[in-house]
């Protein structure tokens, strides 16, 4: 497995790397799961406004242990807090905010991302699985920039960056950038392009791992 030799960064390092790309003043939705980690690495002296689709802008960190308010939760149904400057709203307004293109960035996990920016992250299509989509499809098409946060390879070593998604789609042509443990990729009109390499990773190695061209052909 060629990937085993390549330098990778940890999930926490990756969260910090994504956080570094989020400018002050951005309106940001962090998806359920690993993307939630990004919040821990936003610079404390920058004002970045977090949106949670269940009806809050200006979401703050988790409350101290023992100070949980069950009416105040995030989209993952975990207890959160609200910052000074927060606002509550109902679900139609909240998803209008997304669908209307008002969020600057959302960060989502992925099963697969295609070279044209298609995202698959809600269902593996496994028979017998109970389908559940939540806000994934709305987030995918809603934010100005959709960042994906994922390992480059699955546990069995298959690339999550693919020519075409095999898993059921969440959104078509919606991903702008993919942050992985080995490199950051931009989704361009001409497929994936490497934006940044982590550790000793080379573009040749990445091309071997994902079996897609990462360079212009001219």
């Amino acid at each position: 497995m060629p990937g085993a030799l390549v330098t990778r960064i940890s999930r926490e390092e990756l969260a910090a790397r994504i956080a570094a790309d989020i400018p002050e003043g951005a309106y940001v939705n962090l998806g359920i799961g690993a993307p939630t980690l990004v919040a821990n690495y936003l610079l404390a002296d920058l004002e970045i406004i977090l949106h949670t689709e269940n009806g809050l802008l200006g979401m703050g960190p988790a409350p101290d242990a023992g100070l949980i308010d069950p009416d105040l939760i995030n989209a993952g149904k975990q207890p959160v807090t609200a910052l000074a400057g927060a606002a509550y709203f109902h679900h139609a307004d909240s998803f209008g905010m997304m669908r209307g293109g008002h969020l600057d960035i959302c960060v989502l996990g992925a099963f697969q991302v295609s070279a044209t920016g298609d995202l698959a992250n809600w269902s593996t299509g496994a028979p017998g699985a109970i389908p559940a989509v939540g806000g994934a499809m709305d987030l995918a098409i809603g934010a100005k920039d959709v960042f994906v946060m994922t390992d480059l390879l699955t546990k069995s070593g298959e690339s999550k960056l693919v020519a075409e998604c095999v898993y059921p789609l969440t959104g078509v042509g919606c991903v702008s950038r993919v942050y992985t443990d080995r490199a950051v990729f931009d989704v361009t009109g001409d497929g994936f392009r490497v934006r940044e390499l982590f550790g000793g990773t080379t573009i040749d190695q990445l091309e071997q791992l994902i079996r897609l061209d990462l360079r212009n052909k001219d």
Partner: protein, 245 residues
């Protein structure tokens, strides 16, 4: 005098018929009208279609209604949760129908019902299997699918405070689906922590005007909110927590 308040949750859910479509507010446990659902279980209506974001948590509230076999069909965005074992069992046994709707389309379809919109073109879900069979159209270079309103016979929702005209305010993210479901049902039934005097709610801050509300029943403060103040909550495992100083 208009007085939409009722003395009991039993009175509030009276008359719900077998085969009804019932919207149930809440996102997870926040805003879930547990006392009204308990009353609905007691009331006995069955063969229900339930519209709710999730499909119940643990063994209480919506999960308890499901466990009684009263629900024929669920329309929701996210039935599968860490504590949705009741729904999971019914679904795997083929004992319940499921329509999965992306959360924003669910919200907008409910909103459309209340606002008299016949159908709308949504960009959400385009090109996915959840748009399968739906009319698609490209407008100004963007692809959309046509989505239809979701109406209900009854909405059961939870609010924080209400008055006898049915004006409502909510609390934090427990607002979620309440305002749009209130407008989308023929009969809207609301449980509130507290009924306040007419005029006590700031007209600038009323979230659901009484025109959308038919019945209001006070169920007392939740354990974590008393007299309008947060006095400590429970975490997702149900352990009780301290008051914030």
């Amino acid at each position: 005098m208009i007085d939409k308040t009722l003395p009991s949750t039993a009175a509030a859910v009276a008359g719900i018929e077998d085969g009804s479509t019932v919207m149930i507010g809440g996102f997870g446990r926040a805003g879930q009208p547990v006392e009204l659902i308990d009353a609905l279980i007691e009331q006995g209506a069955g063969d229900l279609t339930i519209v709710s974001n999730n499909a119940g948590n643990g063994d209480t509230g919506l999960a308890a209604l499901l466990a009684k076999g009263r629900v024929r069909r669920m329309i929701c965005s996210f039935p599968r949760q860490h504590d949705s074992w009741v729904f999971d069992g019914l679904y795997r046994a083929g004992e319940i129908e499921l329509e999965i709707v992306p959360q924003g389309n669910l919200a907008e379809r409910i909103r459309a019902a209340g606002a008299g919109i016949g159908a709308f073109f949504s960009p959400t879900g385009v090109g996915t299997e959840l748009a399968g069979g739906k009319e698609e159209r490209t407008i100004d270079g963007r692809r959309y699918v046509l989505e239809y309103p979701i109406r209900a016979d009854i909405a059961l929702i939870s609010a924080y405070r209400g008055d006898r005209w049915g004006n409502l305010v909510y609390r934090e993210t427990a607002r979620n689906f309440g305002p749009i479901m209130a407008a989308a049902a023929s009969t809207t039934v609301v449980q509130v922590d507290e009924v306040v005097e007419l005029g006590a709610l700031d007209p600038e801050a009323v979230v659901t005007p009484g025109i959308f509300v038919n019945r209001v029943v006070p169920v007392g403060s939740r354990p974590w909110v008393q007299g309008g103040a947060f006095v400590g909550g429970v975490d997702i495992e149900g352990r009780s927590c301290q008051v914030r100083s």
